[in-house]
């Protein structure tokens, strides 16, 4: 047992000493998460999400003498708070808006359909506000979607309440004119915005002077999702990179030297495996602490976080060892680092973690990789899911870890027991 620890701690010392380890395991994920999130408009930099240019296409045809509800939507976006964040540009039609998006003029377009007023005014009618967005930008549509959802919610509430309010006003002899109506819709929607919490918290970022130190939930969430993707990628990467030391030591003769010492083969392997595991534990702890300090990410409940960490490091260790056990020597490891890690990471959705609603086949491919399950588990933990909800991805990951580990162990045992 002592020898197992001697081997593992020696490996850990070697890992920590290498610049490569520090670079690839700790600096790279934090740096990339930072770059991505600022590119998407996160971090402390509130100006990054101000002045998002949105094309506004109002095709609304008001019914009877009702006001133009598209106009009301426009008005809502002009209210303080939203105005600083989002600038609506009137555009004649959808084609022009799409054009503008393609030319990077707008980040997204908000389309008010022709039957929008009708839908709001009449019982049993539905119409949808549509958002067209640039797939390369992923935070803008999310923010826009969040706002628009509350606007739409506001309209839904208005639809129920306004006729009653108008009736009541008329009964009392008041004048229920168009102006009164618009004002009412506007107030209801903005009230609905506030009560939903999404938009209000967004305002704090826009006006940091008013709400200093408070962290923006929506943006925060996006940074944490990006960080989770990066972290999983680099933990798996480090798992493979530290497992590579088995092949390296085979070539430098230090492994053979261990085999001629009075140490069992299984203890030597256990020491090497443990070395990988401990390295990943250190890596993930540092990443969790640093990311919560730098990005204010709240990593969720400790119990669930521990489960997520356990599942991640065991599966990353198993996967790394498994991949290395398939290779003959270190000259072949380029395939793993250049290819397998990136491809499985991509299929696992690590680089597209902020995009919801991936096509169906992508969701299936995701479930074939340990990274995909790890991403799901971590996203659930971040979202505050229950133990019951995280049970499935947790068990799948642990199962994968066991399978990978057994194959790797079998292959290495056989490889080193008989030459």
């Amino acid at each position: 047992m002592k020898k197992i620890f001697a081997i593992a701690s020696k490996d850990l010392l070697r890992s920590i000493r290498s610049l490569y380890f520090v670079g690839m395991s700790l600096v790279a994920p934090l740096l990339l998460a930072f770059l991505f999130s600022t590119a998407f408009g996160g971090g402390d930099d509130s100006t990054a999400i101000s002045n998002i240019a949105i094309a506004f296409v109002n095709q609304d045809v008001p019914v009877q003498s009702s006001p133009n509800h598209g106009e009301i939507v426009y008005q809502i976006f002009q209210t303080t708070g939203l105005k600083e964040m989002i600038t609506l540009h009137d555009v004649a039609n959808e084609a022009q808006a799409v054009n503008g998006i393609n030319e990077q003029e707008f980040s997204a377009a908000l389309i008010v359909p022709a039957d929008f007023s009708q839908a709001v005014m009449e019982e049993g009618q539905t119409a949808q506000l549509r958002i067209i967005y640039d797939p390369a930008k992923s935070i803008t549509p999310q923010i826009l979607e969040a706002i628009t959802t509350t606007v739409a919610d506001g309209f839904s509430s208005s639809k129920m309440m306004i006729p009653l309010a108008m009736e009541e006003l008329q009964r009392r002899g008041g004048q229920a004119d168009e102006q009164f109506y618009s004002k009412l819709v506007e107030r209801i929607t903005s009230q609905s915005q506030k009560s939903s919490g999404v938009a209000t918290s967004m305002l704090t970022v826009l006006n940091p002077q008013g709400q200093e130190g408070e962290v923006n939930d929506q943006v925060q969430q996006i940074i944490s999702i990006i960080m989770v993707g990066m972290m999983i990628f680099f933990v798996f990467y480090t798992g493979a990179a530290t497992s590579e030391s088995l092949l390296q030591e085979e070539e430098t003769g230090t492994l053979a030297r261990k085999f001629v010492s009075p140490t069992r083969v299984r203890d030597i392997l256990a020491g090497k495996f443990l070395g990988v595991l401990i390295t990943l534990i250190i890596q993930i702890c540092v990443l969790l602490v640093l990311s919560s300090l730098v990005f204010y990410i709240q990593w969720g409940e400790p119990g669930k976080l521990v489960l997520a960490v356990v599942a991640l490091i065991t599966s990353a260790t198993g996967f790394g060892l498994f991949l290395m056990s398939l290779l003959r020597d270190t000259r072949q490891t380029g395939i793993v680092f250049g290819g397998v890690m990136t491809i499985t990471g991509m299929l696992g959705g690590l680089f597209t973690s902020t995009i919801q609603n991936m096509p169906g086949f992508m969701e299936i491919l995701k479930k074939l990789t340990p990274q995909g399950w790890a991403l799901e588990l971590w996203q659930l933990v971040l979202a505050g899911a229950s133990y019951q909800q995280i049970l499935l991805p947790f068990s799948v990951l642990l199962g994968m870890a066991v399978v990978f580990f057994c194959i790797a162990n079998f292959r290495f045992q056989r490889r080193f027991a008989r030459k």
Binding site: K10, L13, R17, T252, R257
Partner: protein, 312 residues
């Protein structure tokens, strides 16, 4: 007294090579035993079998009576091993390397630190013990490589060509160390392809070629095998195929081996055969540009037994 090593019928075959092809020998406790043979003779493979790196296809070896097959941990604990290729962690310091390997040999705590200090002294690296091995010269790395095998004060040290590729001074240092350790009672198994090393160090020498021990004994016993033969080394300036053919026919010449321009032959009485050699060379218009006559030594023995020169 119990024998340090008994090798019995050891065989190790690779796909197309019989690396070790039936080897038996005994090393008595307290002696320096050398395996002498050219590159590819099978020395390293024998060491790997004896130290339990991999099992033999046939046979067994006993380290102080412990079968390397049946009681590998016991047998391994009694040996210190110096591999032919330097096997160190370059990113760790000499001290860190020694401490790690000491732990694998069961040393812990204060005794470990004390032994590390002693070994650092022994290999002359106390002053640079905290420097990373990657910064060391080849000779210094060799010394650390050897020092690791001494940590647990083994009764037997197995050294596989410990002086390959280093400067004469480091080589001298290592050989003196081997002799000093042996004086303190350590049994040494030493492999080399330098006959001078084997000659200087060994109480007992086994000469190997192509996976087999072709002769074994003390230096004096081995030299006696060749009888009164001199080894003659010549350089022939021209393509000497025909010359060589004629030389082989000269009375008193036994073995002739050629490596490019360098010819080595054995002659019962070199004074008597030299005129014939020159005459024949003249017949074919070949010029002998250098000549050296050696008293019988291990090189002569090797040539006598295998028909080949023991070259670097």
């Amino acid at each position: 007294m119990e024998n340090a090593i008994e090798a019995k019928g050891l065989k190790k075959f690779y796909k197309d090579v019989k690396a070790v092809n039936g080897v038996d020998f005994t090393i008595q406790t307290g002696e320096i035993f050398s395996l002498l043979g050219p590159n590819g003779a099978g020395k390293t493979t024998i060491i790997n079998l004896l130290t339990g790196l991999f099992p033999p296809n046939a046979g067994d070896a006993f380290i102080f009576g412990n079968s390397i097959k049946k009681e590998p941990l016991k047998a391994k604990a009694l040996m210190g091993v110096v591999p032919q290729e330097i096997a160190l962690y370059e990113d760790l310091s000499a001290r860190e390397n020694l401490v790690f390997w000491g732990k694998l040999y069961g040393l812990r705590g204060k005794p470990l630190q004390a032994r590390v200090d002693e070994v650092l002294e022994l290999i002359g690296l106390r002053d640079r013990q905290r420097q990373r091995v990657s910064k060391y010269s080849g000779g210094m790395k060799r010394r650390v490589n050897i020092g690791i095998a001494m940590l647990h004060l083994p009764k037997l040290v197995v050294m596989d060509e410990p002086t390959v590729g280093i400067d004469p001074q480091s080589r001298r240092h290592i050989m003196d160390n081997v002799l000093a350790l042996n004086k303190q009672g350590m049994t040494v198994l030493y492999t080399t392809h330098y006959m001078e090393e084997a000659q200087e160090l060994s109480d007992h020498i086994a000469i190997m070629d192509q996976g087999k021990i072709v002769a074994s004994g003390t230096h004096a016993e081995l030299v006696k095998l060749v009888g009164e033969q001199d080894r003659v080394e010549l350089t022939l300036s021209q393509d000497g195929d025909k010359v060589l053919k004629e030389w082989k026919k000269v009375k008193g010449v036994s073995k002739v081996d050629q490596d490019g321009e360098r010819i080595t032959l054995l002659a019962t009485d070199s004074n008597a055969v030299l005129p014939d050699l020159f005459r024949i060379a003249n017949q074919f218009n070949a010029r002998i540009s250098s000549i050296a006559i050696h008293e019988p030594n291990l090189e002569t023995v090797f040539l006598h037994l295998t028909g080949k020169a023991l070259r670097d």
